[in-house]
Symmetry: C2
């Protein structure tokens, strides 16, 4: 394999294009552009361009209140669809609301309050047509567990409730601020892998908590992690109630079966959508008939009739719990925002309409702030109920209004009916709902594509089930960011070779036909160059040169020119500039030529400003393409194409 | 400017090169490669390749004890040079050692102890030939201020000393571990801009602290920030001692003058190098002669004669101060490491020899660990003394041994002479030494090249002088990393156009001659694609398409093909892969073709693994160059070259 092919090229025909500096723009203009890309990448003012004043006012009002957009064209046919979907999600929202409130260690009725006011607020402000708003499992779990670490919900229920509403207020404030300050990209730091691992872990933690209800245990542990919960379950084996277990098992099987049917045949969505309410009704009737509460089956008990009482006087804006509620607010705010935005975007993509992330954040945030003053806790768009809403044919946010009205009727007139509802059926409903959060095919897909992402997933998963919900999340986010930083600290440098018969240069490790050019070491740096990687790049490039020289010594072909292809270098800082200066000096000492290819605008500008001696910017150092650099510098040499070094 | 040029091209001649996937490598091999690039970018085992066992042993011993490398060839001529440079840095090290120990709130003699044992250890283990080892100003300042926040050095001097030695031990342990675990790149996160701002701020803080000595104030504030210090200075105006001020002023002028001479004429380095010792001698004689201690001039007082006492029994490895000493150790460890490594690299580059960063870290770390057991506090290579060492012609680490012996002689026999040395002259020595840390030309250069880096510099500077030394540093590092993360969250996408008459495609904003091709939107994504920027990229690309379509509507030329040039995309994760799937679906709905150009190895592999439907990998979607994509897809169209859109 040592044969060296030698090709003659007519070097006279080489036309070399000049590398120019980009058109001058002032620092202010650059700052403006960068701020625009950072905060307004979606260009929200685009639609206002070239409109009359009146049009602008109408568009502005529609921008802030999307209800004004669809309301004027709202017709009876749409209303029919929204009635159906609204009633469907109400039949889910009522049992789930009660269940999730219990998950958050709150009185069950707070779950219904939270399914009444917030959906009405969202209907006015929200721009998604499919979002079904209300309490969700993960935010409920996190809210409940974070607050319970400090305050006991059984010993001090009023304080606990106050802290829950205060956390909801701060969650809403945080969400609305993110949207208002256009910092929505913060939720982008929750990568898909993190979320999948986190949700699967949370689903397991939530399900384990339900063992209390499903087994009829009365003295259950207050901890959340898997080990203390399981040990608590087996230490209280004498408390297990066979009546409760039997009932729980039956309803769990029924619910899982209907869920399976609903998933296999989307047209039968109403089977799985109606099953929870049906279970509640049947189980309530059974308990009432057999007086189950006397046979070890625990029931919800008496619920207060009537609409949401005001709760602004319960909010804590000072005192020793302020830090706790702000922290809880931020964590639950981010989690519920992530779910709400992801759900909104998913269904918007399916129906091909746009959802403005920052606007949605303001809507969800305001909804929670209003909610916190009307006895509601953290709400957002629920993934499972939104899917049902979509399948049931919802057309606009009117379905949320229909749902809210149904909940209102329930609150006003039907509360006594829930008195005998057994807690065990609520546990079965929660388990059925959260089981869908465990997405094994997606986890497998991630394993297949990117092992490191899968590691992040595992960290989130095991962190959540073995340590705690918040810590698992924090660990996973930390690792994700560390990975990105590592990519920057250790950027790839690859050696390019010529694809014979073309002017194309590609990585010699990737394209086996690419031939390195004798006397030329052509390197491509595939990352922005900055303080974090300058030292590494200096070492790595000198190793490339050493390798080339050792290899060359064997073949008796010496290195003459080092070419750095800067096309992929998207940014540079002052430390990066010094890399070129140092390299240029070091290579000059070795008698090697040093050539830069295709610096992009920003890099070019900074090179110019830093290079007072015009050492890097003189002609013969900068080229527009690798091909032109090689062609121009090898004018006196023949191309020699050895096997790839 | 609305003229549209139309060029016919013979599309039949278009040869299209296949995009292939890179050769298969197992996950294990990839992991091995990545670990190697992360931890062994300098390939330290290279020299052992192909050697005999005996050679390997010798090389190995030389690797761990660089003294074995130069000692065998050490000659008398080298020794002559080292004697001169060693005595020169000793004349600096003695007064500076005493001064810096006072800066760290430690007994002056600890500064001399620290200039005796650590340089001997470094001479055996260190690979730099120019480093002059001993206490330095910034680490002394930070050590003293961090410990003083918790323990008073005047009320509890023994405990304070114990904590200082313990912190030194942990600093050394941390430094050696960084080197041993090959995590040296952590210090790369201190960017040049951060360091310049930080050092200038620290210099001002240190100088302000000297006002106590220079003005003869006895009740000085214990805070470090600029405002409390200045207010303390003016509130104690009645304590100012004119004798002290006069003496301080004279010596300060003298020292600054000699410093100026030494900087202007490097050959006269001995003028500035000898000045501090001369000042100490003269001022001591004056105080002794006029009995200055009775005229308000404070003096060092009696110093203990003899060599370093052992101090391993003073180290705290448990107890309530453990957290404090570990934290102080890490912060001072990083700072002193940064200074030592930077100094070593600077002079190695000047004399054209290699300094292995990780090896140096182990050397400096072990030096501090040994130091902490022999009554020495944090030491490293001092920038100013190393420069003097270099100018005085040092050849090897022997100059450190000469210096250590000189300090030893001083400790054994000359200590009583320092009894009458006035504190004011120590203050003047410190001010003269740290004033060199304020590098205004470098700051100006950074302002010129990169405004954001300058902002980082300002944050470090003002953070240090107004808040605290550690917080200023933390803020600056935080902002540097945030900048890098922002670059990732908001990567650049640029539109490419064809440079007429070539197959070259470049940014149309940068190269005014580049023409966009009618019907083609050619975008280049200039960053790795990952979870943090997928949402942004989706929005940004759809805005490009909208812009193009609006522009095109005016010109009645419709968009047909969207080309994504992936050459600069150096990495991708699972979220990034979904971007292509989503884009492909969305563009298909719009009836647009979607084409990818030149995915590099890793991207190609992940695309293949994720793309089960072969939708993205089918022929006609992947091209090796933009030119081939355009040529191949426009086979039925004429090139239309409008003005750049």
């Amino acid at each position: 394999m040592e044969e060296n092919r030698v090709i003659d090229i007519t070097t006279g025909s080489f036309e070399v294009h000049k590398v120019v500096s980009p058109p001058h723009r002032s620092t202010l203009l650059k700052l403006k552009n960068r701020l625009k890309e950072t905060f307004f990448p979606d260009d929200p003012l685009r639609q206002f361009k070239g409109q009359t004043m009146k049009q602008k006012l109408i568009l502005g009002a529609q921008y802030f209140f999307p209800i004004l957009e669809w309301c004027p064209n709202y017709g009876f046919n749409m209303f029919k669809s929204d009635i159906v979907s609204g009633l469907t999600i109400a039949s889910l929202a009522i049992p789930q609301g009660i269940s999730y409130a219990k998950l958050a260690n709150l009185p069950p009725i707070v779950g219904l309050y939270s399914s009444f006011v917030p959906p009405l607020v969202y209907a006015v402000l929200g721009s998604s047509r499919d979002l079904a708003v209300g309490p969700v499992s993960i935010a409920s779990l996190v809210l409940g567990s974070m607050l319970r670490e400090v305050v006991s919900p059984t010993k001090d229920p009023i304080l606990f409730l106050q802290l829950a509403f205060s956390s909801t207020f701060f969650a809403g404030l945080f969400q609305a601020s993110l949207g208002f300050l256009r910092l929505g990209f913060i939720i982008d730091f929750l990568s898909k892998a993190t979320l999948i691992g986190f949700m699967a872990g949370a689903a397991i933690i939530v399900s384990l908590q339900q063992l209390k209800g499903l087994l009829g245990i009365t003295n259950f542990t207050k901890q959340m992690a898997i080990i203390p919960v399981l040990s608590s379950v087996f230490h209280t084996i004498n408390e297990w109630s066979w009546q409760t277990i039997l009932m729980g098992f039956c309803f769990l099987v029924f619910l899982l079966l209907t869920r399976h049917i609903g998933m296999r045949k989307p047209k039968l969505f109403w089977v799985s959508a109606g099953a929870p309410l049906l279970s509640v009704i049947i189980s309530t009737l059974i308990v009432f008939a057999i007086k189950g509460q006397n046979h070890g089956i625990s029931i919800i008990g008496k619920l207060h009739q009537g609409l949401n009482p005001p709760s602004w006087n319960m909010l804590h804006f000072s005192g020793s719990y302020l830090g706790l509620v702000i922290k809880t607010g931020i964590v639950t705010g981010i989690l519920s925002l992530t779910e709400g935005i992801a759900v909104g975007r998913t269904f918007a993509a399916l129906k091909n309409y746009q959802v403005d992330g920052n606007k949605e954040m303001i809507a969800i945030g305001l909804m929670n702030m209003v909610g916190s003053t009307t006895s509601s806790y953290v709400t957002t768009g629920s993934f499972s109920r939104s899917a049902v809403n979509h399948n049931a044919g919802s057309k606009t946010a009117m379905s949320n209004i229909v749902m809210a009205v149904t909940v209102m009727v329930t609150l006003l007139f039907l509360m006594p009916l829930f008195q005998y509802t057994p807690n065990v059926v609520l546990g079965a409903i929660i388990v059925t709902a959260v089981i869908g959060l465990i997405d094994i095919p997606a986890a497998f897909q991630i394993w297949k594509i990117d092992k490191f992402d899968f590691l992040v997933l595992l960290c989130a998963f095991f962190g959540v089930i073995f340590i705690s919900v918040q810590d698992g999340l924090a660990i996973a986010i930390g690792i994700s960011i560390l990975k990105v930083l590592m990519q920057i600290t250790r950027p790839k440098t690859v050696m390019l070779g010529n694809i014979p018969g073309t002017g194309i240069y590609r990585n010699v490790d990737h394209y086996k036909e690419a031939m390195s050019v004798a006397g030329f070491l052509i390197l491509s740096i595939e990352a922005p160059i900055n303080f974090a990687n300058v030292t590494y790049l200096k070492e790595r490039i000198s190793r490339w040169i050493q390798d080339y020289e050792e290899e060359g010594a064997k073949k008796q072909s010496g290195l003459r020119v080092v070419v750095l292809d800067l096309s992929p270098v998207s940014a540079i800082d002052t430390s990066g500039i010094s890399l070129f200066k140092d390299l240029s000096m070091a290579l000059e000492k070795k008698g090697l030529e040093f050539v830069l290819v295709n610096p992009i605008g920003e890099v070019m500008e900074k090179l110019q400003r830093a290079d007072e001696t015009k050492n890097l910017m003189r002609p013969g150092v900068l080229f527009l393409t690798v091909d032109e650099a090689v062609g121009s510098l090898s004018s006196t040499v023949k191309y020699q194409l050895p096997e790839h070094v």
